[in-house]
Symmetry: D2
Subunit: 356 residues, 4 copies
């Protein structure tokens, strides 16, 4: 057991694109002691480890797990997450996994179960959930500031690398889905998922696409992802009966805008007909408000949360179940894609979680 005030020891597995970011944040944290970078390409591991002080570079996962490290953070390709995580959990280590949690829901559920049985923390690195903007959105929705939700629209488009092993849904949509899972009260549980993809360049996988996800209470959620867009947009709109929120992640001067605008329907009479309601429609054109947001690096908060979950013996804010919910939508999307957009029901993770 780790003493409350000692630093937790952590190693990062994977020194490619994302690993160095994790390493830098663990190294800068007062909660953590970064002990090693592990990569099969030892030179690459050294390039990450050496500037960060006395940090080891190792090529063997087995060797790493034999040390007294408390936790490992996995930043390797998704298809390797399961094997590495299972070995780490088996060695009694807490585990943080880059999104997506695994490359299939079945393997992800094994990881969740293994962590649960060993009372270890399994956390998904849903980084966006630790940005000040997303934290504020969650808070505004939870406090009822938007009223009833009406629609959700998430757009993530830009010129992007055509990935060799995954389509644009598995590459980009985990960001959008993890955000929706975080801000929607009770998490993301769509009634169904319809996916439409385009592969106009003939690459063998969708390079652009849309997810249509009816949510309970006639709320429509839409996610748009695109690797071929000449303009870069990262935007989320959450429409509510009281207010509507727009998050424009690329506008540092006004990231979050809350519009006090909307449509008011007349109250239905006792024998109220919809027609009557429509006739009494009116518009509300109120103020716009843009809350100040702290400038904070999301990854710093994320690694702090990982430490907090371990020390507090509690699930992390974006735990394995969050990762499962995202995967259940991605898998339903892949099935829908194979059937021309047919509505597919995602596996209901509430069953898995024992909530239903």
């Amino acid at each position: 057991m780790t003493a409350p005030h000692a630093r937790l020891k952590v190693a990062v597995v994977g020194a490619g694109y994302w690993g160095p970011n994790l390493a830098r944040n663990f190294a800068a944290s007062t909660e953590w002691q970064l002990t090693a970078i592990c990569d099969m390409d030892l030179a690459r591991a050294h390039r990450v480890a050496d500037p960060l002080g006395p940090v080891a570079a190792v090529a063997s996962l087995k060797t790493l797990l034999d040390t007294d490290v408390d936790a490992i953070a996995i930043a390797t390709p998704a298809r390797t997450h399961h094997a590495i995580a299972m070995e780490a959990l088996g060695a009694g280590k807490h585990v943080l996994v880059e999104k997506p949690l695994a490359d299939s829901i079945g393997r992800a559920r094994e990881m969740v179960d293994a962590a649960s049985m060993s009372s270890l923390v399994l956390m998904t690195d849903h980084t966006y959930c630790y940005t000040p903007a997303v934290a504020k959105i969650r808070e505004l929705i939870a406090e009822g500031r938007l009223g009833d939700l009406l629609f959700v629209d998430s757009t993530r488009i830009n010129l992007g690398l055509v990935q060799p092993d995954v389509d644009v849904f598995w590459d980009l949509a985990p960001h959008d889905l993890s955000i929706l899972d975080f801000i929607l009260p009770g998490g993301l549980h769509p009634d169904s998922v319809s996916a439409f993809g385009g592969d106009p360049l003939g690459t063998g996988r969708s390079c652009l696409g849309h997810l249509m996800m009816p949510l309970p209470n006639s709320v429509m959620a839409h996610v748009q992802v695109n690797w071929l867009s000449p303009t870069k947009i990262r935007q989320l709109v959450v429409g509510g009966s009281e207010r509507t929120l727009v998050w424009d992640d690329l506008n540092p001067q006004q990231r979050l805008s809350i519009y006090d605008r909307g449509v008011n329907l007349g109250r239905e009479s006792p024998a109220g007909s919809r027609q009557r309601a429509v006739e009494q429609v009116s518009y509300r054109l109120g103020d716009t408000w843009s809350p100040a947001l702290p400038e904070r690096e999301a990854l710093a908060d994320m690694v702090a949360e990982f430490a907090g979950a371990i020390r507090g013996h509690r699930p992390a804010r974006t735990d394995g179940h969050a990762g499962l919910r995202v995967l259940s939508v991605l898998e339903a999307a892949s099935r829908s894609l194979r059937h021309a957009g047919l509505a597919e029901q995602p596996e209901d993770m509430r069953l898995v979680e024992g909530l239903l």
Copy 2:
């Protein structure tokens, strides 16, 4: 027969929202003599007619059709288009109809057939097709400046009146669909249409929604319409292999932007695999260009085209068939909506047009 240089005589039927705009443009045109405004509410007809000079106000369509008017322009609710147009065509008048052409494709086809048999012009008022921006987009695509089309995305969202008799698709999407029909070489012929609507206020009709339309050659077209959005967006993106075009109708200082940006795939080797192509992906980040557009009122060009078609004994640029193609998509969308987004094939208008 009308002498080449005499003004054609026209009357406008319907003095509600759109009729006055048509009337004003006919009155200002050197091609036309506006003779009458017809509305069952005679006072309303007078309010439109009187400021426009010696223009009659009449309440009876029958009376109107007994005059020597050459053409009538119909700006009444969609459900009345068929009856009025059939009566006018029967009386030997050329007919212009506000979008949508009719409230069902069956009735619209009767109108097209009646006009055809009488050698009269039947034109759909797809106003946006006469804006300088849309004309330029059509020209750029036709000249191959965008290369092969990759995707099309049209957004039309704003706080809007919840219509008493139609949903948001029938209210707003005709604009987007008529534009797509106009700019796509050969017109709009989607392989299928999937529609997703949201009615979170319980009004009995979709107040926001998405159309997914796979086009030939793996091109994905997406249309988004929304009456409940706090922000106003009217934007069309046409992605091409060479260039991508963005039309932002609400930015008068830079309505049209053409981005010389995109993804280049490597050439496939003789035994070329897709994987190889992906590995050779590279990016092109070239200049952006925003062509100057004349400031011209679209309706002025539209009424000139109506006169030109009549005088030239030729179909109008947005003729009855264009109206049919838009209706075929709207009807497929309505069917899809009743089946949770199931892909529905629109009636193939090329059969009707004798093109297949």
Copy 3:
């Protein structure tokens, strides 16, 4: 004397660019009866008068003033304002004058004096002061919501007609100056005016320029005007110790933004030095707020205010003295321009107004 509920009779003199706007708003007002349009070019007068109902078109000012009209509105070139206004005041008519009030402060003062002696209303058409945005800005400043004023910056640039008889300062700056006069508590009273103009095309008058106006309490006001700018900007920034306000007149979706941001200086110690204050500087990065503004035509409110002033026997909100203050700055600017930007003191209108 006019009975309280009878409509006041008004005629518009000048049927060029601005006159038709005034005529349309008088015609639409329930306070006014528009009786005539007066222009030496009678055909031009008819073109404005005829569509507005039973409105006379006259070519002679003398004839017009012999009628029982209560008031006249002058929309002729600035160099003719004085002669027309004096004749009208002499005939006992209330007078509204398009900006600038006259082409020199001497002639303007004669107009003010003449109106005063006859107890007639002399109003300057400072249209912008009747926009909802400017009304809100005045209110926010008056309520102290911005704290102490720190700086004011007004920009009005666009491709514009090079005027044949005036420079860019006399053409455009009256808008900015009248707004500043309206929103600054106590009106616009700069300590001095320095003007810098550019005439790079050799037209014989400034086509672009800047006014630097130190105001009391070390507040710096800057006005930029330009006929040669390829981009169009109409923006006002009012910096305050508590909040700063930005009015972007070309952004209909967010015209007015109030930033709760700024610099906090430390409190000075009893023997406080400035150095100490500087060392304790800190930043405040609070919320941004954009108040909803009604969509209302400014000219409608302006003509209502003209009627209100006449009926209430009170000065109009933008009265002759406001026009004088604007002229005193314009004249000082012209003097400064002839002396390479030398700081010139404007005639102190508070002396004229008996306030000092």
Copy 4:
């Protein structure tokens, strides 16, 4: 003498705000070997030096200059530039100095003369001149793409630190002035400088201000700087008779826009009067074009240029004379500020340079 292919040795003096950026770029350059960081606060020197590999941390300038270092880069407060540079030049070292070159033109000229007499390179770190955008602007002007220059407008405003020892002109305007000096053919040589500052918080120095600089040929240059602005703007407009250019440094998606818009005056007849020219004014509303710019770090190019100048025995692109021209304007601005904006002539650096 340094062999052509050996790395030049450089040390950075000053480990505060800017020094680390210089150090990082020298360390990354293939032209340079970074040998030491020098700071009186040795711990601070170590914090910069240690992560950059085998780089010494030293506290004594004298010790540093006794080594075989080829060049030193000075990133200390401006008031110390002269003493450090003179000592380094005396020791035969090439010198790069952070802007402004010195705290007075007299001291700066001594530095220029000392370098000249010893045939050493003295370079001013005018970083912006090495950005791809500014390089492109210089090229467009030099090629005559804008036609004759008409006006120049540079804005640099943001919430900023109130500096303890300099006003906002000396803190921010060197950026604008060095850019103007770089892009204007022949450098920045204003006929006069008028400066207007505001100190509404009573800090004892201008916290916001404007420079008005008439240039030859009736071109007006205006620079606006502000530490108290709630919004951040970094924008340069260069108006030309053929085209006008806008550089918006905060818009990564469209940094540079070239507008083919403007005013055309009629040709003057042989006895042509200006009046005639004005009457023939017309407008050109052509395309807008936004050239693609490479994404490159300016400092990398700057340190490469420093090496190139040393190896090539030639002046650097932003040499000591560029630094002098910027200082001559700053000193004239300070004089003007003390005289209420009186136009002050900057010392003519062409005399110093032997160009006149």
